[in-house]
Subunit: 289 residues, 2 copies
């Protein structure tokens, strides 16, 4: 089974357990809307790639960790799109969740996905309860203050924030967790993979900043120019496009170097290079020039 199919099956399985017996039908529908169809599934992809590179001796645990990470990522998108934050009308080329289901359902879907993610991890890793403890803590770290994505979002509400602190938390939290959770799920040392997650998270955030300036709406499925409109920190706005591109390239190199010694090292380096080109295609550079 290829990685994409494995991720979708893991997510469908993870969500299915919450539908029996029946809960509120609109909430179920809205949860499905938040999760399917997905975006690039980049966090579960990273998680499973690290699990596979680490032997993947408990695929159910790795699947659970991957699904859980994507669930909390989707939760953060639903809450970030709310009127009180980005007030985004579209996401993934269709109405954002609160536009489609209302603001109350959007708050509840985010809450439910966060809690469901922990349940998924606990169920999926129960064969190795020691790993459950580590996975729950890893997933929580990706969300909570000081370094998680909720703290990252909260920095937007503070009167002053340093751009690297903000971006490390806002995006980095989940990438670090994805790399580490993949290792934990396979019984490997998560600290060996932490650096890869950090570099990829920073690279992804810089890429997102570049896309917000250089992409077209239909290419990224959401409005462009939002950082400027909302007065948010953005690496291109802070340092200029040339510096942002150089920073992105540097982080991609660092991510490749951060892969710990393992049989899959060269394969992983190729994956990162391909992903970098997908995120920031060369035409963005020409367009922004």
């Amino acid at each position: 089974m290829d990685l994409s199919s494995r991720i979708e099956q893991a997510m469908i399985g993870a969500v299915g357990i919450f539908e029996m017996p029946a809960g509120p039908p609109r909430l179920s529908e809205a949860i499905g809307y938040a999760l399917f169809p997905g975006g690039a599934r980049i966090r579960p992809r990273l998680c499973l790639t690290v699990a596979l590179a680490s032997g993947d001796d408990d695929p159910a645990a790795a699947d659970a960790a991957a699904a859980a990470l994507e669930m909390v990522h989707c939760a953060s998108l639903v809450h970030d799109d709310l009127p009180c934050f980005d007030d985004a009308a579209t996401r993934r080329n269709r109405p954002s969740l609160h536009k489609a289901f209302g603001e109350r359902e959007a708050v509840l879907v985010g809450d439910a996905l966060i809690a469901m993610a922990f349940d998924v991890v606990a169920r999926g890793s129960a064969r190795h309860p020691g790993r459950t403890v580590a996975l729950v803590r890893c997933l929580a770290d990706s969300l909570v203050p000081p370094g998680g994505i909720i703290a990252g979002q909260a920095w937007e509400c503070e009167s002053m924030a340093e751009i690297s602190t903000y971006q490390r938390a806002k995006t980095g939290g989940l990438f670090v967790a994805a790399a580490m959770a993949g290792a934990i799920a396979a019984g490997a040392d998560p600290l060996a993979w932490r650096g890869l997650g950090e570099r990829l998270g920073e690279a992804y955030q810089v890429a997102d900043d570049i896309r917000d300036v250089a992409a077209r709406e239909e290419e990224i499925g959401k409005p462009v120019g939002r950082d400027a409109a909302l007065g948010r920190l953005n690496a291109v706005r802070s340092f200029g496009m040339a510096a942002a591109i150089a920073r992105f390239e540097g982080l991609v190199d660092q991510a490749q170097a951060a892969i710990p010694p393992c049989g899959a090292r060269r394969h992983l380096q190729q994956l990162i290079r391909a992903e970098a080109l997908r995120l920031v295609p060369e035409e963005y550079l020409e367009r922004a020039a």
Copy 2:
């Protein structure tokens, strides 16, 4: 140490770990505002009471479970008070969290408290990882569909809901979890305590309905008459005050009967009777008559 002090110490300890190193200062402040000073702390009280009745062989795990339950309860209050739900201006006799800190902080505080609760449980119970798995699943069940409090809140957004299904999820979820988590944390059988949690949860919800009609605002620290104003299901509005009182008394009796055989059984029965009188004092009955 008495139970109240133990609960406050457990909560202060649980929150403290998220403040080092420093995260966004306003988010930290708002999290503290959501948790302290608390209300009756009735869910952690139930959790620790069951843990003590079950031998309390790992007090750190019981403390963690108790603190986590109160954290998710406070998260639900913060989100339920939001403008898109109850639009409540006061809570615990002071401004509700979104009035004091803004709507964005209120969304983030709720999200953070849910995730922090799982972290607290995983850290606190790590000495017995098998209990971690059960505690995480128990805490998640109290939140997620079909039976958790998020599903309960979601029933308010559905076009039709049956009052007992709604109330069981809306309030019952956390009471069931409190009773069961206390048992799990102490290595006892959680199913033996499930019935007590169910009856107390239902009793508490009916009491809340009675208070919404019969109490004065300063007595309960929040506006009264909200169910009628918001068109929500309420046992007094559905069946009349006399029937609601009779239902409350019946549930209190059933809760007392549901306590499993243990040395503390008589003591627990007295606690439940005292709590019932605190929740629905006799003057409410006279006032409503």
